[in-house]
């Protein structure tokens, strides 16, 4: 019984351990954990404005989570989501600035550009892995930094005149709600991107579970040699998987560029969304639906955290610690698994 639901129990216990660790840290450093978590909750769901902001934060988390999960399912580890997200963001804003087109062409074009840019950024580690057996982890990390510096350079010299950010994109490329829609969440920055995220969740599920190509991709993830023996083109599947993963990540960037901010700005450090995406995918068991639930959890944590210093005095970095610890507990799930199996054996006796 426990064995069957292990994929649900392990993440739940990891989250629980993370929350407990968070309370301990608050207690040790002289804060009240109950006040801390209450302010966290209020900051995420306390007012309709915060609910809107939480959903807005969930959108890129879903897409970044899908990107990592998709690669994972096919046996690849894409740490490069962060870089793919940055180039996607840049490409979307670039298209949003450069053209003046009717909305029904301009917006899809900008979104598509982000997916293509992200896909290209995933193509490089994919082709290196497939053709030269270079480990994708190191390449994707390096590509993150290349993306960061190159996009900063382009924003500074090409898209603006030595400024720290670009102009705002044309309205025809924007995902922002109309004024009336914005009123519904008390003028939060929630935007139409949630539709994109939902569509992508469906695409990921359908592609992996219902198509022959998805079966092939998963099969390569399970066992490359068996897949090759069965006549599948392993190399091509590896490249394809990295490109699709990168495209999801690029879309996450488009959500920020076209929806939340409406411009691209120079980043002195990474956005963190891509790295949190690793946690989202791991906790979500690398399934589309799991990613949605975990993205909601993380979106609430991140947005709620901003309220913590004001209401309870707890530094909002506490949430980063909790998220890191959750990843840690999931990574060390061997421990949790052994513990659960021992428990279930005892019950059986």
């Amino acid at each position: 019984m426990i064995k069957r639901y292990m994929n649900v129990f392990v993440p739940l216990i990891a989250v629980l351990l993370g929350v407990i660790a968070g309370s301990i840290i608050m207690l040790v450093s002289g804060y009240n954990p109950i006040a801390g978590y209450t302010s966290l909750w209020n900051g995420a769901f306390g007012e309709i404005f915060y609910v809107g902001e939480t959903i807005r934060q969930v959108i890129p988390y879903i897409l970044a989570g899908l990107a990592v999960a998709f690669a994972f399912r096919t046996g690849l580890f894409n740490i490069g989501v962060e870089g793919q997200l940055i180039v996607g963001w840049l490409a979307a804003v670039w298209v949003g600035l450069a053209f003046d087109l009717p909305k029904f062409i301009h917006l899809p074009l900008a979104i598509l550009a982000a997916a293509v840019a992200g896909g290209l950024w995933g193509f490089v580690p994919g082709i290196l892995k497939a053709k030269l057996k270079v480990h994708e982890v190191i390449v994707t990390i390096m590509m993150n930094y290349v993306a960061l510096h190159v996009s900063n350079y382009i924003i500074r010299t090409v898209l603006s005149d030595k400024s720290d950010k670009t102009d705002s994109i044309h309205a025809s490329a924007s995902l922002a709600f109309s004024d009336k829609m914005q009123q519904m969440t008390d003028y939060s920055r929630l935007h139409w991107g949630f539709l994109v995220a939902i569509i992508c969740v469906f695409i990921m599920w359908f592609l992996l579970e219902k198509t022959t190509k998805g079966y092939e991709l998963r099969s390569v993830g399970f066992n490359q040699h068996a897949s090759e023996y069965a006549g599948m083109n392993v190399d091509r599947n590896i490249v394809l998987s990295m490109v699709i993963s990168g495209a999801f990540a690029g879309l996450a960037g488009a959500m920020e560029g076209l929806g939340t901010f409406g411009y691209a700005s120079i980043n002195s450090a990474f956005t963190g969304i891509g790295f949190d995406g690793i946690a989202v995918a791991l906790l979500g068991g690398n399934t589309a639906i799991g990613v949605v639930f975990v993205a909601i959890l993380f979106g609430a944590l991140k947005v709620g955290a901003l309220n913590m210093p004001m209401e309870s005095g707890v530094p909002n970095e506490l949430v980063d610690i909790i998220i890191a610890l959750i990843i840690f507990f999931v990574a060390s799930s061997y421990l949790i698994r052994v513990f659960l199996l021992k428990m279930s054996k005892k019950e059986g006796k």
Binding site: I25, S29, F77, I79, V124, L128, L132, V134, H135, V137, I138, V139, I141, M142, M143, Y145, V146, H149, V150, N152, Y153, T157, S268, A269, F275, I278, L282, P315, E317, L318, V319, D320, I321, I323, A324, L325, I327, F328, V330, A331, S332, S333, Y334, L335
Partner: protein, 319 residues
């Protein structure tokens, strides 16, 4: 500006930026030679930078001039202890070493910024008063020409780092301990058969990597940034990892790569004030270490072979 003048600006600056990378890459060599991937180097540097700055700010009055060296020691100890988390997760609990390393990085940044706010009530610390400063190294700086380029207006830490690289090379390739460490990373089962305690060797490897990365972070904080905030360590850990790979997991190779990356990093900062170089967009220099690493991995700059058991947890009795 003549060539000597240009060199006497570039070389010390390159050495300055290389020192933290060398130490951290040497740390990475211990961990990866024992078969444990250590992407957490970045996080360990963060811990080292944070500890050294806090120590420096707290004890500057007590220890005076020697504070900065004691602070490095504190950074070493703190990061060594912190690396235990990675060791426990990836060796004992058989966690995916990459995931565990990512967690280390996120945890280090979160934890240190949390503590900075807790201790100082703001997002970043004050500047330290007892930082590493430019010095003329006695005797050597009087050598004509070479002295002015390499040993004047430079930092002691750079030379400590270069000496450390030679020592580490000796330890890894010429001592019984180094042989055991390498055997555990290449073929743990064979090592186990010969009576080497694989788990213990890997723990030692990871903890040394923590200690050295802590020193690396400490040097960066005390000689380059002089305070600690959210962007203090921004990719240097990954760059050190890149240096290690670029140097083919050899301490001296890693040192060479780190010197080159330090050169690239310093050029992107001082390049603007030098003739000819000011016309090159700094972005090329900024991305050079990363692009070169990708090329090295792809085999365009000679094959780089990782230790064979790198990334695989060792489970006794499993073939």
């Amino acid at each position: 500006m003549d060539i000597i003048q240009v060199l006497s600006i570039i070389v010390p600056s390159a050495l300055l930026f290389a020192a933290p990378l060398i130490f951290t890459a040497l740390g990475g060599a211990f961990s990866e030679r024992s078969g444990v991937v250590n992407i957490g180097l970045e996080g360990l540097m963060v811990i080292g930078a944070f500890t050294s700055i806090v120590f420096n700010l707290s004890f500057a009055d007590t220890f005076g001039d020697a504070t900065k060296w004691y602070a490095l020691l504190a950074a070493m100890v703190a990061a060594c202890l912190f690396s235990l988390l990675h060791a426990v997760a990836s060796i004992t609990f058989r966690a995916d070493q990459v995931v565990s390393g990512v967690a280390i990085n996120l945890l280090a940044v979160g934890l240190t910024l949390f503590l900075v706010k807790l201790i100082y009530g703001k997002g970043e610390t004050d500047m330290v008063s007892q930082a590493f400063n430019k010095v003329d190294i006695p005797i050597l700086s009087h050598i004509p020409l070479i002295g002015r380029i390499f040993f004047a207006n430079t930092y002691y830490t750079s030379y400590v780092a270069i000496i450390a690289a030679i020592v580490v090379w000796y330890i890894i390739f010429k001592t019984p301990f180094g042989l055991r460490l390498r055997s555990v990373g290449e073929h743990p089962m064979a090592a186990d058969t010969m009576g080497i305690n694989v788990t213990k060797m890997r723990y030692i490897g990871v903890m040394i990597s923590g200690a050295l990365a802590g020193i690396g972070g400490g040097i960066f904080a005390e000689s380059i940034s002089s305070n600690f905030g959210h962007g203090t360590i921004n990719g240097q850990g990954y760059m050190a990892l890149a240096a290690l790979i670029f140097g083919k997991w050899n301490p001296l190779g890693a040192m060479g790569a780190a010197l080159f990356f330090g050169f690239a990093q310093s050029l992107s900062i001082v390049g603007k004030s030098l003739p000819y170089l000011d016309s090159i967009p700094s972005v090329y220099l900024l991305i050079a270490p990363y692009v070169l690493t990708i090329l090295a991995l792809a085999g365009f700059i000679g094959r780089a072979d990782a230790p064979k058991a790198l990334g695989h947890p060792y489970v006794k009795g499993k073939r």
